[in-house]
Symmetry: D2
């Protein structure tokens, strides 16, 4: 931490800053520049110290030198983290695709969508049982009944399940069905919830808060990791900007940036990141080209009957087309698609869709 | 709701949109313009309908005509809501000031700060027992012990208490001590928490999510109100923008705008809205000049020892100066300060509230 | 400037950074911290140096210590700058109001509006002859003919004129009529234009670019001042954020912040800063309460016939009401309205102010 | 255009809106909904009309149905525009790469960089002779001398030149050397400059204003096109958001969105869009995967000696690596790199610059 003094700071003010640093148990190193003095603080500083020093008289500003996150930092942990879900490896250099409905709705649609995404090559089935809805007058998900439907879809397709948990009181219940717990963007700094999922042993997909800097996103991961759960998958899903042509601005820069800053795997959500189904394919390809470890995509067998976010859901046909293009792209990039999981429980049905 | 067709939409596509509208149980009214056709939807539409219609072939976009919030809307409820806490009236045309520590820390500081803000004319004591902290390595509040300290401060000063609740599981506990429940900015769309406070009978101060549009903020209020609790106080606390000179950008426009859109009282938080103590006074005055019903201000007897947000806390001296300037301003604006509450137990001190 | 090394930087990398600093003619001061080394650069650094040092191997980041603006900085020039236009003093502690049409349109409207704002107490007449219009299909101003109309309005009312210049080739022409040259928000970093107005001796009102940080805004002022013209008036006019309820987000924080950072006077434009006429009064009062030295307001005798920005123009009645409320507010704040200028050249009419 | 009335609008207010619409020469079509009335306006509306109608009593808001741009719109002009520069075709389905220095500096560096980018397969040489610099204390380019250096580099490499023009007075001069005129982000709404380049017959690369919505960007293109020059190349270069980890937020969504909205070619600038050299390659690949027609990249033979933006420049080695990876990617996507241009004029000259 570096305390930058005002150009008109008096020797007494500089001395008071130095004394305060020593009082807090740190070493002080003043440097007299041409315009002003700066005082370096040596030792393991804590975040609040910035506030404590910046209120002192004669201080212009206080600059931080160290990263505020440790467990999530690649400086501390240089090797890539690989999150495992059964045979599936996320972050291993092979691209993983999670796909399915935004909200679990009818049994018919849920199972049909699950089958369709498995057939097209998805590795994980997504589906919302508990949905955060901006309006209280919107459909909020089927809750426990939705979880049962997901469990049935898993039994049939063999795909592991990712589903969102919104309430710390539901974590235990959701973790019974889910293979991966999802934290939604609006809960990106819901610390009570982050802690609770940090106490489970389930992988957590942590969506970036639509307002969160990369640093805050990594600190949210740190909240989970400090509870003992290091199986965190980061998910870029678009940030809020002035642009209204798309629902959010997908921050493609963040993908290579966070891969450099952190050892955690990063997946991309082009469905929420754009809000428009016709932008999902190009932005999905872009995210992978930028280095993402995987994708999470909304698919619905009948988007105009979807109970939420129909405008950003792909049809099974469009999803299958995306998977084909993705396959070619991933091979060109030298990071092929992950081998199939959920080996064809339907194969017994002799339906010819997968060998 | 109005469906805007593409200029090249075919008659069949237009007919399919009209049929879909009727299938959903609404009336359709097409209007043939010079460039394109629009189809008006008549009836009480629901939010998801926008998605359902926008995915149809030939549709350019779907425009919403109605507001998505009802209970919070001034169109539905033209009269100002006044939230009452004992003798205190928030939203009555008299300016109310809530002040105190960001985090409850030591007993000595807490009681001294409480006394100081009461003496300077504050109407409500603020103090955080549970604190949302961006970093898991930061001080997170004293929890239940903090609530006890607040209760003592209330007993001594007679001031009602506002304090934050972060976890739906804590609502009952916090409501035992708090006179006003505070929802913090990072929980501005934590729907599990919003519902839980909506089931209590305590007034709720709802801070705007730093990413939330005014519409989303009012929808968050609607989440609380649909559970039966209509005592919602809105709090503008700054939004996240590209400007980094200040911690957030205090959205002063939002104050008169939301007063026009909604009947709920609106208070301003210039401490978090600026993040720098020397900007608190000018922005506090600005918020009141723009029409805010009150303020919530951080004060600490020793800001450089505050366990959080010291850089934005006022000293008691600066707070007293602000109250004096505010008194003059409020009179000039014709909206005087609310009369004192917590009738001076220290005045005669014979009343049993302080030994 | 402070070079922060990576935690894994080698001694050779640190030495290379130090050598580079010395090669550039500066002194280097390394500080060995617990986690990493930082190297302080002593001397008058230049902005590009940040780039030159940050590309070196082993460097994590480079922090700037000094402000990049000098002429505009209060550290360098502690006394308030007062900009004088005839008898009018801007930045002297008395509040100045500029008002008039967004675009000069018909002679009838222009003169009627000019008379109305003078009668209500405005000190400067605003009016656009050259208008930046987002769409090429919109009205772009009357150009030279508009300037003539403004000159007539000045002759009749005695009010000095502020008008926008958009093209470096027009600066000389506009400066013949204008008493204050206005640089619009979209030209907030049009350096060719900034330089050109910096070569005149006319006061310049510099609107903040809707995307500009306070630092960039002050650097734009610096561009003007380095050419010799120190009569710069800063104008906060709203920034672009995610909020769409208002046209822009008026950054009220910036007013006290920039008054602290710079010695230049600051005025506020609540018309563009909100984009809605019914928000102009509350935000105007807020800006003054926050410390602004003046206001610039759109007024039109017939807003629904205005050729641009009718939705944010006040009627003369609303403007007169604002001036009355402002008068009371300014007195309460101890910063009264500036005395009237343009003393009734129409006084020949013998009345008073209007027949 | 659709006028949405307030729920409490009186019949007289509705009638006044209808009368105003007819007075303006349009047809009015009222629709009585459940909550409120909307009035559709039939005819070719102009943008200001929105303002004129929104100020009428009883009006809640006015919604636009048509796009404000025509010449740039794909609805009007469904076929892709291909911009030709000699043999080079931009927007033809083959990917084009422009590369070179941010600022033209020494002759040695300029020619070496030009040679290096040609050798690696770039199709156009970029280089700034006139540079917009945020700080007036920064290097602003060599001006006319820089243009001469670019002309020499063109003579040697055979590559066409793209260079920025900042001042309408320089357009003629710059157009003598440049094959493509570049409008920088800070001039993205400098309408005087846009018009001036619109009067030339040179292709114009129009960078998006860092604050501009896609709509405003297309309207800026429209400003150029209305002057007769339809050879506009759009360039996404990052927008300003709250994220500070990267210099700007590259808006990858905008690429497929604008390709759908407009027939103009779109290129991407990952150098400015990220501000960090190590993010250039992944974001360049992402932009192409998202559908961009080309790239513009900063390369410098000695980034730590670059006079501007060294931190975001690639070395020739890194650029060559990017071109190799790009080649593979483009083939996988079915949109191969454009054939080489500037066929080795130095080869025949036997001057030893290339073996």
């Amino acid at each position: 931490m570096i305390v930058v003094m005002r150009t008109d700071a008096s020797p007494e003010q500089i001395e008071a800053v130095r004394a305060k640093i020593r009082e807090l148990g740190y070493q002080d190193r003043p440097i007299q520049g041409v315009e002003r003095t700066v005082v370096c603080v040596l030792g393991q500083v804590y975040p609040e110290m910035l506030d404590e020093l910046s209120v002192l008289d004669g201080v212009e500003t206080v600059l931080r030198v160290s990263k505020p996150y440790k467990l999530a930092s690649r400086e501390v942990h240089p090797m890539d983290t690989v999150v495992r879900v059964g045979d599936l490896e996320i972050g291993s250099g092979r691209v993983v695709v999670m796909a399915g409905q935004c909200s679990v709705d009818t049994e018919e649609y849920t199972l049909a969508t699950a089958q369709a995404v498995r057939d097209a090559g998805a590795h994980v089935l997504r589906g919302g049982a508990f949905k955060p809805r901006t309006s209280p007058h919107s459909f909020e998900g089927h809750g426990a009944k939705g979880l049962e439907l997901l469990a049935r879809a898993k039994a049939i397709t063999g795909l592991p399940i990712i589903t969102e948990v919104m309430d710390p009181r539901d974590v235990e219940l959701v973790a019974e069905t889910a293979d991966i717990l999802q934290i939604g963007s609006r809960n990106g700094q819901n610390f009570a919830l982050l802690k609770e999922v940090g106490r489970t042993d389930k992988p957590v997909l942590l969506k970036r808060g639509m307002w969160a800097t990369v640093e805050e996103w990594l600190l949210a991961a740190e909240h989970i990791m400090t509870q003992g759960n290091h199986n965190v998958i980061l998910c870029e899903r678009g940030i809020r900007t002035f642009e209204t042509a798309t629902r959010f601005t997908f921050d493609v820069n963040a993908i290579p940036f966070v891969k450099r800053e952190s050892h955690l795997p990063v997946v991309a959500d082009p469905s929420h990141g754009t809000g428009r189904w016709y932008l999902v394919e190009p932005v999905a390809l872009a995210a992978i080209a930028a280095g993402a470890d995987g994708l999470i995509i909304e698919v619905h067998v009948s988007p105009d009957h979807a109970l939420s976010d129909g405008a950003q859901s792909l049809t099974p046909q469009n999803f299958a087309r995306l998977m084909e293009r993705l396959d070619v792209l991933c091979q060109a990039l030298g990071r092929p698609l992950h081998p199939a999981v959920g080996q064809a429980p339907s194969a017994a049905r002799g339906d010819g869709q997968r060998p």
